[in-house]
Symmetry: C2
């Protein structure tokens, strides 16, 4: 980084991708940023409102791709998707479920990164950023350094416009990502993590628990209201 | 192959994927087949009607995924997509254009195979087939054996449901694919190749020329009407 090359940043509106967006904005320092969000029928569409807010905050162009076909593609089999099974509390998951939890969406990141790479190629951008971080490795094979490496292995074959995918937080814990966000002045009240679609965050689903733990580890109070 | 494992076959309705579907149906011999087509706003939606016909011919379940978002994703930059630039005649393409022709869709096969793998995973299918063949290598980095190998490299990371993508015709010329289709009794009047969206095939776009050459090489007459 530290160049003026334009970049595409995958932005869900959650904590990790939001900090990543601000991180890339700081490092790229004036280059054109494209924030790319996906509407895939997720329960927590409030994420997308947060994404729009954060894109404005760093003057990135924001594009929301409607990929609700994903719900039918995977038969609403994931708890992340409206109409799918209930989102479980983290403390009810068995060891086997933790290897690939109910909130896993089949092959999600390969699909999203393929589309982001296509978008980047069509817009003459060579660098794509996504917010994989170390704490997701436990349950998501598509958040690992090996996954990232192999995605880049494919994209390197492109004869005219090889795209590189970067995940600068792939070795970070959520607490460390939060710390980086604090340094960057991120407004965490305008991020959304809860997997359930409620008015307030539930505080017990896997991502709420991890988020609250990250705030606790930094001795900070999460500005979001919890129900 | 030669097992009773169910399979997902990417079926555009063109010659190669149609022969592949019949080939897999023969080899899998009674296993459940899922034919998966994509509506991505292609000029030649007549392909999709041919796909439906061919899926019925082998008693495959047929699913058409609406991914017209792809047009906006890539700004209709490809000549394959309605609203994009004109489809060129093959004999007008320069050497540089042949490396990545105007009919190239950015990162198309990685997107389609990612979705096919997600579909397969959600349906407990482990094998996906697509109709890459040797004659596309000249202009499409995403039709090469290296591409296939690297796609499988990624999917192998899946902890519960690793999917394998097969492209049994990846070393075939179009003429050889046609020959295989003849052996399998494929009705080529119910396939569609022309890139242009006309009532009859144009006979001059890259895929028409390649198709006609394949018929000529087999000393056969193409049953399609040409305008």
């Amino acid at each position: 980084m530290n160049t003026l090359r334009p970049a595409v940043v995958l932005l869900s509106g959650g904590m990790d991708s939001t900090v990543l967006l601000h991180h890339v904005a700081r490092e790229c320092n004036g280059a054109t940023l494209h924030a790319l969000s996906f509407n895939y029928g997720q329960r927590h569409s409030r994420e997308l409102q947060s994404a729009a807010f954060q894109a404005r905050a760093v003057s990135a162009a924001h594009r929301v791709m409607d990929i609700t076909f994903m719900g039918s593609l995977i038969q609403a089999g994931s708890a992340l998707i409206e109409g799918g099974q209930e989102v479980p509390d983290l403390d009810t998951l068995t060891a086997e479920e933790l290897t690939q939890p109910p909130t896993y969406v089949p092959n999600r990141n390969m699909m999203l990164l393929s589309m982001a790479a296509a978008y980047a190629e069509a817009h003459n951008v060579t660098d794509v950023y996504y917010g994989a971080q170390a704490q997701d490795e436990y349950g998501y094979w598509d958040c690992t350094p090996a996954f990232l490496e192999r995605i880049n292995h494919i994209l390197a074959l492109n004869r005219k416009s090889p795209i590189t995918v970067h995940a600068p937080f792939v070795g970070f814990s959520k607490a460390k990502t939060l710390e980086r966000g604090q340094d960057l002045g991120v407004d965490f009240a305008q991020t959304w993590s809860c997997y359930r679609g409620g008015e307030t965050a539930c505080g017990t689903c896997p991502t709420c628990v991890e988020r609250l733990n990250a705030f606790a580890a930094n001795q900070l109070q999460d500005p979001l209201p919890y129900g």
